[in-house]
Amino acid sequence: MTRKSLFASLRMALTLAGLVLSVSLTARGDGYVIVGNGDDGSDLEAAIKIESGPIPMARDKAVTLLEKLNVVGIPGLGNLIPEVQRSPLFLAKEDVISSLKSDRSNFHSDVSGKVFARTLAQPYASTRFFPISTRLEESQLIALHIHEGLHRALPAEYRQDENVVSEITLAITSPQASHDNVKETTQKHIRENDIRYSSPTLGGYGSSLPSVSGLGRERLSRPSSVGYSLSQYWQGGPATFSYVDRLHVIHSDLYPFGGVDTPFGLGLQMSAIEGPASGLTMGPLGIAVRLRAWSIRDFEIGIFAQAAMNLLSANERQVTGFGRDVFTAGVSMRKTIDRFYVENFLSVTLPGRSDYSFPSVGRAGGSQPLTYVYGTAVNAKIRTGYRSSTLEVGAFVDLYVVDNFQINSANFNKETGRFKLASIGPEASMRFDEVTVSIFGRHILSTDREVNFDYLGNILQTGAAQGSVGASVAVSF
């Protein structure tokens, strides 16, 4: 660090310390203050939208700073980045003299009483800057953006408390700021039980089944989603028998039950299987029940049960081998550490069976169906990766241990015995407001007995053949 930048940092720190001290003294005398537009007429003057210039540039740097500090992972600050990022900015034509209690904070007005900026202490409210704010330095504008954002992002009980907002602002904008410092300052004021989370999570559809990771803390106030996913499978070898090319899934996950921190809901998945032999046929109907059970020491613990029901009637020939009912239940644990997340799954899938008929055998008789008998499967999965407020990039390792797999027909009987199947794959998600776009893949890492995903018979969860690539788009609400 150069001497010049050191002095600049010290000057900034002293300025902010002075601001906070005066705010604290002011607020201590009056209790908490109200932030927002007054009814004194001072806000009725015209304002123009700010599209460019130092104020939006400072906002971008504020967002960068917040991402660097990973405030998403701090209880109570999950909404801060979207609030800073998305608040419409306006510039008033004339300065106003502070007349509201809220304006008495040094983050809101200068020593002469002119107001820098105002916002309404509600989510998604706009921020109105006054001409005097254009004289502020960039670092001060950054602090101002964060300060106003905190007024909108903090839990309702705290967002109007100038003491709390000012201290957290200082913790974030301090030259020595770190994730732990900000977290400590925030936790000093905000009780865990008062936190309401509201930004949508990412990467919920890394597989074609709704992920329990979707119950992560950032998504708790908007846990429901609807979307579409497409998976493309590759045969990759002669020993696959499903011969499925693609899987289309339309999903809808609704969480009407449970508390804010423990949503409980139902997910439905309508699927269609596409293959060279089968054409486009109805796939399984996925039904998933998920509950974010509890949170302890930043661990998110969820439980889930999933069923994939065969929708084909007795008259319809099962030409894919995936006409089985699949029942799975398990637990998930997720921990977010700064910019990284780790998520573990452990689940059990019950045994099942499906009858398969070779497609379109000649009219002379037709072949007898093969019966696939699937054994009990135990699954352990680890997801990990990097995350920011809008991006999540990671990978997973997935291990299945299956009791047995049998093929039975009038003249052909075979079984694999106990086998294991390990797979690996990348996952990436990008969020655009309420819309999340994901891409994902899966490939066999290790196996024995020449098995592949066809032997699991669970196309909604693990896919088919030798592996897959896919993409999904989902809207959270």
Partner: protein
């Protein structure tokens, strides 16, 4: 008491009659069925669902194309098929069009590796490493192949020896493979009236 003795006597006579009928005068009936599993193996085609390899009106057999055949329910008749007194287990295949080719080498051979309708030139089935033919195009002992007897467009194969030694003898119906060094065209399974068929005699009593 007399009534009881009379009843027992009548029952005894009936039992003897049944015994005599079974041993001295056995009755058989002729049965014929279309072959239910037919799969064309084509050199160079690894797609098990290649549409031209099943459910066709006509199959072309030659050096690069061989035909798997199996009547799946044959196992149900293992205990009741008669091969006594010259009774045969016979397969009949119809030519799609007459030919002047020498058909003596158009042979029907016992298959020695189990297969499914997924079979291709390289694989008997997709379920594991043992699904690969040891010899591309299908595993069969050449010495046990049977040549045809041609009657018009109809090709007849006496597969009694195959039934006795391979199917019933090993209690496993692995089916047959039609091989030919010359190109012929045969009627396929998409026309029930001319599809390949199996004929045998079954005990009635």
């Amino acid at each position: 008491m007399r009534i009881l003795i009379s009843v027992l006597f009548l029952l005894g006579l009936t039992g003897c009659a049944e015994f005599l009928k079974d041993t001295k005068n056995p009755v058989t009936t002729s049965l014929e069925f279309p072959v239910t599993e037919i799969k064309l193996l084509v050199r160079g085609v690894g797609n098990m669902y290649e549409p031209s390899t099943y459910g066709q009106l006509i199959y072309t057999i030659n050096d690069n194309q061989q035909l798997l055949l199996r009547y799946e329910k044959l196992k149900e008749y293992f205990g009741s098929i008669s091969t006594d007194g010259g009774k045969k287990v016979e397969f009949q295949i119809n030519l799609a069009s007459d030919t002047t080719e020498d058909l003596s080498r158009l042979q029907l051979c016992p298959v020695t590796r189990n297969w499914t309708m997924h079979a291709t030139w390289q694989r008997a089935h997709p379920f594991g490493a043992d699904g690969v033919w040891s010899k591309e195009g299908g595993d069969y002992p050449l010495a046990d192949c049977v040549s045809t007897v041609k009657e018009g467009l109809r090709l007849k194969y006496d597969m009694t020896s195959w039934y006795v030694n391979f199917a019933r003898g090993q209690s496993q119906n692995l089916g047959l493979l039609l091989v030919s060094p010359v190109t012929i065209r045969i009627a396929g399974d998409n026309d029930p009236s001319s599809a390949p068929r199996i004929f045998f005699q079954k005990w009635v009593n």
